[in-house]
Amino acid sequence: MAQEVKLFGMWASLYSRRIEIALKMKGVQFEFIEEDLQNKSPLLLKHNSIHKKVPVLLHNGMPIAESLIILEYIDETWLDNPILPRDPYDRAMARFWARFIDEKLIWISWDAFSSKEEDQGKAIEEACKQLKALENELKEKEFFGGDTLGYLDIAAIMVASWFGVMQEVMKVELLTEENFPILCQWVGKFVDCPIVKECLPRKEKMVEFTRVLLKDFLASK
């Protein structure tokens, strides 16, 4: 049956980049629809009426929202090159750490980047603790997924890209080679993967975009 796959995304959204990576890893042909988040299309608002966000995957007319949920849908629908591990315990660990990144690590790190000077030391210490916990999960492996990219690597695009961008914009050091040699090594391998290279926006573009996004916040500092 002819498959129709569309991805509503935005070039600077790492969440929508996650989906691009997964679709490309599976060799799925798809149409990318670039959204202007200041002026969301009627289609996006229709397909994600609850959250009104990207990414949204539209598969044969059926919409799925929330990037981690879309990743699992992709893995269960296109069975080549599985991105989640087979073993239920390993799957649970992958899901745990992906949620950790989205629900805890990013927010604690944002605190570290955005805190006032007097609170910053403590916030940075806390964020480093969380980063260390994630780094420990890599153990001896090339990637979180083992020898090749997996679900957790894709989720961790936030670590590979967002931290570097934020460090430059906010002038706060967090994820350094000195403190996180193993995690930084992973970042290097991740961004070097051909598929990731195709999907990751250039850092300078992201920095510029983020500076504009945060201009009011930066002005108030």
Partner: protein, 224 residues
């Protein structure tokens, strides 16, 4: 092989209740370890160093934390009484609604309970909007899982108990049967299902606990 299943929980944690229900639906034997969160055991801290919370499921010595992650683990490990649907799209929808429950519904209902004045009014409006989405999702179904209780029912299920407790304490109607008839019936149907009904925490203890939380919140907001 001898299975060893332990559940670390508190008597009142709604997230831990999800796991109790799932284990009972699947008929899995398990040992309960009750935690006092004001005095966390070394085992809890060892098994969940990242969040230091309950519930934690320990299966043959290996710990899993985060209730929705645990539910999926249980469903993938013990195949009887499946909680998630088979079809990938329906599975995605189930995961979506469970996440919506945690991120939006529980949050807004908690705000209705713990906040006062304008913030409470705004939380009530948000809650109504959120519950309307769930109302829509209930059309033609007895449970979110269909004929049988499933993953989404377990994820949202604590509401079938907590909402009436909150309503009693703050004296506000959160779920009006006339405005949300399907959601209201779901709460009744869910609460009355034998496995669910037999495992609610004692209501009087819950009222005391949440009243104390509310009193503390009011005291700290008026002293600041």
């Amino acid at each position: 092989m001898g299975e060893e299943v332990k559940l670390f929980r508190t008597w009142s944690s709604p997230f831990a209740l999800r796991i109790v229900w799932a284990l009972k639906i699947k008929g899995i034997e398990y040992e309960t370890v009750f935690e006092d969160l004001s005095n966390k055991s070394p085992l809890l801290l060892q098994y969940n160093p990242v969040h230091k919370k309950v519930p934690i499921l320990v299966h043959n010595g290996r710990p899993i934390a985060e209730s929705l992650v645990i539910l999926e683990y249980i469903d993938e490990t013990w195949k009887q009484g499946p909680l998630l649907p088979k079809d990938p799209y329906e599975r995605a929808m189930a995961r979506f609604w469970a996440k919506f429950g945690d991120d939006k519904v529980l949050t807004s209902i908690w705000s209705v309970f713990i906040k006062q004045g304008k913030e409470q009014e705004e939380a009530l409006v948000a809650t109504m909007e959120n519950l309307k989405f769930l109302e829509e999702e209930m059309k033609g179904k007895k449970f979110f899982g269909g004929e049988r209780i499933g993953y989404v029912d377990l994820a949202l299920g604590c509401l079938a108990n907590l909402i009436s407790i909150f309503e009693e304490i703050v004296g506000l109607k959160i779920v009006d049967e006339e405005k949300l008839p399907l959601f209201y019936s779901w709460m009744q149907n869910f609460a009355e299902a034998p496995i669910i009904r037999d495992n609610w925490p004692p209501r009087d203890k819950m009222i005391v606990k949440f009243q104390a939380l509310l009193d503390a919140a009011i005291a700290s907001s008026s002293s600041s």
